[in-house]
């Protein structure tokens, strides 16, 4: 019999969704913000982005092929490209190339492949890379060129909104905050900082795209942003040395972190309940680290810390089972 029938268990149809579609979906969502960073930071941003993406893809390929010796190459599934893009978004545009390559090696090599590749990693690879670089090269990682400078490496550096906010707390002087750009400006992106800190508006646009495409659900971003808004708002009400909550959520990597880094599939909890716990915890940790920690930016540390708690959250936060409510009512 030439034409043998195929036999398998149901279901016999598939939604057509794929890993690749999801990964490239996030990449597409990041495109507007990427173009904005090119516009504001010029050639430096382009160089950082290209180096980071190429290095990540290269390391993914090299490690699968020569270290793990796997037949199946995974560079086309989009996860390495995405890691590269996210890593670049976390770097200043004047970072020397060799540091970026080192960051990519750490992100892919240590953050992802040591755990067994896509789906196995505990920490978000891009964040692991960023935190590694931040600890290893604190000076280079925290000197940001002024937005609008089109040159690379010898650009002027300037204070970012986040360092101003921290300065206000340390000096206990609310007037420092007057130097902050208006929250509207921060929304559109006229601030110094890493590539991905430029335009909160475009990042939100990308997040809306991901929500529409059902790549992510609302739980994590909304819970993070909501928590930060509430917590920072309370602090601001108590004492004006703490910045306006709107300025807090539009500054730094908060939008990027809330919409793109914390929502990373592999390292975030599985149930909606767990995702809310995770999001709220990230929000609280971020505000705590930003205001009272040693580093002006707390987003990446908050996410990394909660990544470590994800397995625990998965164990304790189970989705609501069908019929559970009724069971409780019935016992009354």
């Amino acid at each position: 019999m030439a034409n043998k029938f195929i036999v398998s268990l149901s279901p016999h149809v598939h939604s057509g969704d794929s890993v690749r579609q999801n990964m490239y979906g996030v990449c597409i969502a990041l495109l507007p913000a990427m173009l904005a960073s090119f516009y504001f930071f010029g050639l430096g941003a382009v160089t950082v982005m290209l180096t980071s993406v190429l290095a990540c893809v290269f390391f993914e390929w090299a490690i699968t092929k020569f270290v793990l010796k796997r037949q199946r190459l995974t560079i086309l599934d989009g996860s390495a490209v995405l890691t590269g893009m996210l890593l670049a978004f976390n770097l200043p545009s004047n970072l020397p190339l060799w540091i970026i390559v080192l960051g990519a090696l750490f992100a892919i090599g240590v953050g992802k492949m040591t755990f067994g590749g896509l789906g196995q990693n505990v920490f978000n690879p891009a964040l692991a890379g960023r935190v590694f670089l931040l600890i290893s090269f604190p000076v280079q990682m925290t000197t940001w060129p002024v937005s609008g400078e089109m040159s690379y490496l010898d650009a002027q550096t300037a204070a970012t909104p986040l360092s101003l906010m921290q300065k206000a707390i340390i000096e206990k002087d609310a007037s420092v905050l007057n130097d902050l750009p208006a929250s509207m400006d921060m929304l559109i992106g006229q601030t110094g900082g890493s590539l991905g800190e430029v335009s909160a508006l475009l990042l939100l646009l990308g997040a809306a795209f991901m929500l529409w495409k059902k790549i992510i659900t609302w739980h994590i971003p909304v819970s993070i942003i909501g928590t930060v808004l509430v917590f920072a708002g309370l602090l601001h009400l108590c004492n004006p040395i703490y910045a306006d909550p709107l300025q807090v959520i539009f500054s730094g990597g908060l939008m990027l972190g809330a919409c793109y880094m914390a929502t990373d599939y592999v390292t975030s909890p599985m149930s909606y309940k767990g995702q809310l716990v995770y999001g709220i915890s990230i929000g609280l940790l971020t505000v705590i680290i930003r205001n009272w920690g040693a580093y002006p930016e707390g987003m990446s540390f908050a996410i990394i810390i909660m990544n470590a708690f994800t397995p625990l959250i998965n164990t304790y936060c189970k989705p609501k089972r069908f019929g559970e409510v009724v069971r409780k009512e019935g016992t009354k």
Partner: protein
């Protein structure tokens, strides 16, 4: 100087408190275990295969000690992996004598290779025999034969069973097989049997598990048992072969390895393991006879 003294006192105090805590904790949560259990456990293979029917080797050791205390013997308990040698050691520890048990081996009772048993459909799904079993008969027309997904291979702790890529059937490595029975339990079709190894490893086995009626069994596989009963007739003297549900079964304890059934089987479903090659004379005289009988 003061500083150093302070450090020594502080650390010493912490150490003392911790030591006290540990002491009380170990007293409070101490688990009293019969030390013989540990001794017995030490001589067991520690494969934790569960072949003995207890949860792991320590469970078996506990059962041995309990049985020795209560019944005064360790009869009926056997570590299939360690076999006689280990049981003697266990008996020595507990001051008993071990009963003799004949060595056994796993036998795959299906010979439905790709050539013998044509594949009618393609199975597409998780590589598990149990999953394939849920689709019905599976890839071939035989509802009793090997599914070939290797649940037995996964179950084997000793690497003694593997799927032959040419025949798509599992093959047992008799050297490595410990007869723990994990593969037999894993097989959703009960194809694998733990059988007596036989003297010099020689044994006669019906390599088929098909309980369908002759016509159906005959159609789906060239080497299936069709329940014709010819083997039962040639074995009348020893009564080692029985026919139930259209399937012949050879009782290893009664079988005298005369190989008459092998010749009688019209479908070559009976297989002789580790037998010396037949004398050429016998082959010439008997081969033409067999086909004429079946025709």
């Amino acid at each position: 100087m003061n500083l150093i003294l302070l450090a020594i006192i502080a650390l010493g105090a912490i150490g003392l408190i911790a030591a006290l805590l540990l002491y009380f904790a170990s007293r409070k949560f101490a688990v009293h275990e019969d030390e013989r259990i540990g001794e017995v456990s030490a001589v067991l293979p520690q494969a934790n295969c569960g072949g003995c029917g207890f949860p792991g080797c320590s469970g078996f050791a506990g059962a041995c000690v309990k049985s020795a205390d209560e019944k005064g013997s360790i009869e009926g308990l056997l570590c299939p992996v360690g076999g006689q040698a280990v049981m003697e050691q266990v008996a020595g520890i507990l001051g008993m004598t071990a009963e003799a048990s004949a060595p056994k081996v796993a036998v795959v009772r299906c010979n439905g290779t790709c050539e013998n048993r044509p594949r009618l459909v393609d199975f597409d799904g998780a590589q598990s025999c149990k999953v394939q079993q849920m689709t019905g008969m599976g890839e071939t027309g035989c509802a009793y034969g090997c599914l070939g997904c290797g649940d037995c291979v996964t179950a084997c702790q000793f690497g003694a069973i593997r799927i032959n890529p040419e025949t798509l059937l599992p093959e047992v490595d008799e050297e490595k097989c410990t007869a723990c029975g994990a593969c037999a339990k894993a097989c959703p079709r009960q194809i694998i049997e733990i059988r007596l190894k036989g003297s010099k490893n020689r044994r006669m086995v019906v390599l088929c598990n098909n309980k369908d009626k002759g016509a159906i069994a005959n159609k789906c596989c060239t080497v299936s048992c069709i329940g014709c009963g010819k083997c039962v007739k040639v074995c009348e003297k020893f009564e080692a072969i029985t026919l139930t549900n259209n399937l012949a079964y050879i009782d290893a304890e009664k079988c005298k390895l005369c190989r008459k059934c092998e010749e009688a089987c019209p479908k070559s479903a009976i297989h002789a393991f580790n037998m010396p090659p037949r004398k050429p004379k016998a082959e010439i005289s008997e081969v033409p006879v067999a086909p004429s009988k079946t025709e």
